[in-house]
């Protein structure tokens, strides 16, 4: 039954042929568990995406209601505390695994030609994840979030020449305020995920095309 559905879908979209290598591709002999860090990071990313979609059902991005809605998620929504904790911790562990993955790729010299572009795609992923972490930190709209964002955005003011302009751009005004919250919310749930999926798509397809580098 499932086989029939898969076959019909494949006749329509022909996705099987280009993705045949997903579960049966050639890999170097000397693989070890350090090659799993990238995959583990991706699992954390997908957990963040799914739990983030679930949180967005209840979260209200407004200066007056944001904190209240977070309390509701924690206290009133069925399993809401779990979903919120999963989102927070998977995001935290995601960054750890990306760092491990980067170290692994660096130590094994897997960034060398022909994989230079994939190193760049990975670096972009790290930047996007850090940006997502920074913008997501403001969303609970409590004292810690507020002051962390005051400090974080004011760092942009130290850029020579365009510093004040950068701060205005980040905050959407002179102070951290409701406009900042909506700006960060938009970045966190729309802009950054869109670019993340584009970069990750490139990242994985380059791995598929080039194979895993041969180890030390």
């Amino acid at each position: 039954m499932i086989d029939l559905i898969v076959r019909v879908l494949d006749r329509l979209f022909r996705l099987r042929e280009p993705h045949k290598g997903f579960l049966s591709r050639s890999v170097p002999v000397k693989l070890n568990f350090s090659y799993c860090f990238g995959g583990m990071a991706f699992v954390c990313f997908m957990t963040s995406v799914v739990t983030g979609l679930m949180l967005s059902v209840y979260y209200v991005p407004s200066a007056t209601d944001a904190y209240k809605s977070v309390l509701e998620i924690n206290n009133a929504v069925w399993g809401g505390w779990l979903i919120r904790s999963l989102h927070k911790w998977s995001a935290t562990i995601l960054i750890i695994f990306i760092v491990f993955h980067t170290v692994r790729v660096f130590v094994y010299k897997a960034y060398r030609p022909p994989r230079e572009l994939n190193w760049i795609a990975g670096s972009l992923t790290l930047v996007l994840v850090l940006a997502s972490g920074f913008t997501g930190y403001l969303l609970p709209w409590d004292q810690k979030a507020y002051w962390a964002t005051v400090v974080g955005t004011s760092m942009g003011g130290t850029v020579p020449g365009i510093g004040p302009f950068v701060v205005m751009l980040l905050r959407g005004g002179a102070e951290v305020q409701g406009a900042t919250l909506i700006r960060f919310y938009s970045l966190h749930v729309l802009w950054i995920p869109v670019f993340m999926f584009m970069v990750l798509w490139a990242h994985f397809h380059m791995v598929k095309r080039q194979g895993i580098s041969g180890g030390l």
Partner: protein
């Protein structure tokens, strides 16, 4: 250089691993169904009915200026500021309307100051400075038979 594991004799293992991956994806998908109650609308819980608590008799009300009143009711502690601007008593909640810090009455400047982000309110609770978007919340009260009652929600 790049020796690969596409050797004879590994098909069984490959099939097993590929089945394992598909099975875990299926388990994950079915397990996700267990999360459906998450999307069911939640009840915010019944908000406590408004109840009037006797604080003191009406002669203890401030003749002018502001008086801080702390009292407990059903194991919850409350703080209310009673202000008398021009002969009319106003009961004000000390919770700042900006981010919920507790404001304090500053008798030297004749204003309520918020310690967090510098919001300031005059004796009637009106915003006179800082980021607060609304005046301080006024609480209902009543005077019955010479006793002063404040309305609270538990």
């Amino acid at each position: 250089m790049l020796r690969t594991q596409r050797n004879k004799g590994h098909e069984g293992r490959r099939d097993f691993l590929s089945a394992l991956v598909k099975a875990s994806l299926a388990v994950l998908g079915l397990g996700g169904l267990a999360g459906l109650p998450y999307f069911y609308p939640f009840s915010t819980g019944k908000e406590g009915a408004l109840e009037f608590v006797r604080v003191f008799d009406e002669y203890s009300l401030p003749r002018r200026g502001v008086k801080k009143v702390d009292f407990t009711f059903r194991d919850q502690s409350f703080r209310v500021y009673l202000s008398n601007a021009n002969g009319k008593i106003i009961a004000l909640s000390p919770t700042c309307t900006h981010l919920g810090c507790q404001v304090r009455w500053n008798p030297f400047k004749n204003e309520f100051d918020c310690p967090c982000h510098g919001s300031a309110f005059d004796i009637t609770g009106k915003v006179i400075g800082g980021p607060a978007p609304r005046p301080l919340t006024r609480l209902p009260y009543k005077i019955v038979n010479g006793d002063f009652y404040i309305g609270v929600r538990t």
